[in-house]
């Protein structure tokens, strides 16, 4: 029982990462109906950016700031730069295709290839030596009953919740959120209503990639060894989480992330850990078979 509770906390932390990445997938999908397969690698880029930013801020011959200040500066730095990466991808790879009215499939393949370019380009430029993020947060352990949590874990879970609440408010309450929902309804009528389509899409990519950057930084702080392929597998899993929740729905992505993490952690805790992927993907397969649009997704209408 104690083990179970402890694993629940771990699952919450692990699920926060999935949820943070899945939110980016679902935002872009909800607006453009595009699976942005490069998103997992944007997450990886976010982790690397936070590594370079924090080592720069802490370096003795650079600014050599205190740890707290470095942390406070690294967060906006990685969020802004990562969202820049996402917007660049949209600008140079997806937008020309969209302008030409290319089939959705071509955009998906471009996204897949952009992801490969990002991860292999990273490997080719920075080499295979693994990088470790410097300690930015002094670690404290809290013991609550049978469960031990670190302050970092609490921060991760808190940040994921906060991002979800803010994002939900942005999408459902603000004008730009309304415009985003409008794009997903009808992309052709939108410019006629005087809504700038490209700006809305750029904003969506900014939001999604910024969240991935934040997630990447938190991931790098929790598991401080970075490698170029870390985004690929985590990204696929987060994508599954988004689909399980019903892709295109923010609540779905959030719940799906925690659900997937819970299953994975419990399988790894009570069964041989090599079964983790098998269970995660089999559950996905079953859910999609029985309920093809996920938990929160609406049934799709087929054209006649």
């Amino acid at each position: 029982m104690d083990l179970f509770l402890q694993q629940c906390v771990n699952a919450l932390q692990w699920g926060s990462f999935y949820a943070l990445i899945a939110l980016g997938y679902t935002l872009v999908y909800g607006v453009l109906r595009l699976i942005n397969f490069a998103h997992g690698d944007v997450f990886m880029v976010g982790a690397y950016i936070s590594f370079f930013a924090s080592t720069f801020f802490l370096s003795p011959d650079g600014p050599s700031l205190s740890r707290e200040l470095a942390l406070a500066l690294t967060v906006p730095c990685s969020v802004i730069l990562t969202s820049g990466v996402g917007v660049t991808l949209e600008r140079i790879a997806y937008r020309p295709l969209r302008r030409k009215g290319a089939h959705r499939l071509y955009v998906v393949i471009t996204a897949l290839m952009c992801g490969l370019v990002l991860e292999n380009g990273n490997l080719a430029l920075l080499g295979a030596s693994r990088k470790a993020l410097p300690d930015l947060l002094e670690k404290h352990n809290y013991v609550i009953g049978p469960v031990m949590v670190t302050n970092l874990k609490l921060w991760v879970i808190f940040v994921a919740l906060l991002v979800f609440v803010i994002l939900h408010a942005v999408v459902s309450r603000t004008r730009i959120g309304m415009a985003m929902r409008a794009v997903s309804w009808d992309k052709f009528a939108l410019p006629l209503m005087g809504i700038p389509l490209d700006k809305v899409i750029v904003f969506t990519f900014m939001l999604g990639s910024g969240i991935a950057g934040l997630g990447g930084m938190l991931f790098a702080m929790s598991y401080p060894v970075l490698d170029p392929y870390m985004g690929a597998m985590t990204g696929w899993k987060a994508f599954i989480a988004a689909v399980v929740g019903g892709i295109g729905d923010i609540r779905g992505a959030f719940v799906g992330g925690f659900l997937l993490a819970f299953v994975e952690i419990m399988v790894a805790a009570f069964l041989p850990s090599t079964f983790r992927d098998l269970f995660a993907f089999s559950i996905l397969l079953l859910i999609l078979w029985k309920r093809p649009t996920g938990m929160f997704g609406l049934p799709i209408t087929t054209k006649i």
């Binding site: 999908y29 699976i35 790879a93 020309p96 295709l97 030409k100 290319a102 089939h103 499939l105 071509y106 955009v107 998906v108 393949i109 471009t110 897949l112 290839m113 952009c114 490969l116 370019v117 292999n120 380009g121 490997l123 080719a124 690929a232 696929w236 994508f239 599954i240 689909v243 892709i247 041989p272 090599t274 079964f275 992927d277 098998l278 993907f281 089999s282 996905l284 397969l285 999609l288 078979w289 093809p292 649009t293 087929t302 054209k303 006649i304």
Partner: protein, 358 residues
Amino acid sequence: MRGHTLNIIFALTGLALIWSAHAGLLDNYVLTVLMFMGINVIFASSLNLVNGYMGEFSCGHAGFMCVGAYVGSLLSMALFTNSKLFGDALLPPELALPLFPLVLVAAGFAAAAFGLLVALPSFHTRDDYLAIITIAANYIIISIIENIDAIGGPRGLFGMKKTINAMGDFINAPWMFIWVVLITFVSVMILYRLVTSTCGKGIPAVCQNEVAAEIMGVNTNKVKIMAFMVSSGLAGVAGALYAHVYGYVNAQAFNILKSTEGLVMVYLGGMGSLSGVVIAAIAFTLLVEGLRFVIPFVNDLTHSLGLLPAGFEISQVWKWVIIPMILILLMQFRPEGLLGNRELTHVFPGLKKWITFK
């Protein structure tokens, strides 16, 4: 006569290749590249059946190749070789030669059975969701194989090369090469006959409009099962050949990266164009092997010109930056691929005098 030109050309090319291999005109490296070319042709053209003709987006094709590779190598090890895993050979090694095609067929059927993993959900699901199912199927297959410790698990499996050596002891000939050439032609023929047959015309019909196809009397579920099973079965055959060429299989060799390779070949050649995909598979293999030589050359050149700092080497990893880059550019400027959905004879009508190809 015109209808047979293509077959004759194929037969002559195949015979010429096999003869030059037997006479020792081709060295081992060239032979290996040619064999991988054949395997890539089977892999890509079978993927083309689903991604091109049927218009679905399957991105887990390598999983079926993995099933074929394992089943094929396990069978050939159990039947023809003395191995630690199965003990003594069940059949005398002289039978390896006539029975090897059966091993390949069995590998194909096993992979086709796993194709059902994707085919059955495809009744309700389309597009993006089906793409995810194929990815999941790929991971599930790899994960299952890695968890069976008896067949090597994550360490991989080796020992099937002995079957090929046994064939060589029986009659001295480059048997592996002969099998690859033969099976490649047979697979391309199967696909060609399938998509030009009345039954196979249902596959593009599902691509164009599933509901309309159903109304016109096409049993779409049957068509989907057929397309997925034929496609994954041929991928399984390709996998079995791959295992025997390498002499070693590892489940991780068939991960999503391998599937992406297949996608690159299909979209390079053009969706729904058999000749285009065959050409693309050949070109892609040449490109990958060519970059192996070009990259060190570029590295030396830039260093001797002093363009790069001394500590920075251009490594082979750049290959996997350049290849996706090519595809991105292709999608921007010619998204339909080399030939689009047309065949060679439509692009060059002059060829129609010599060959017929629908």
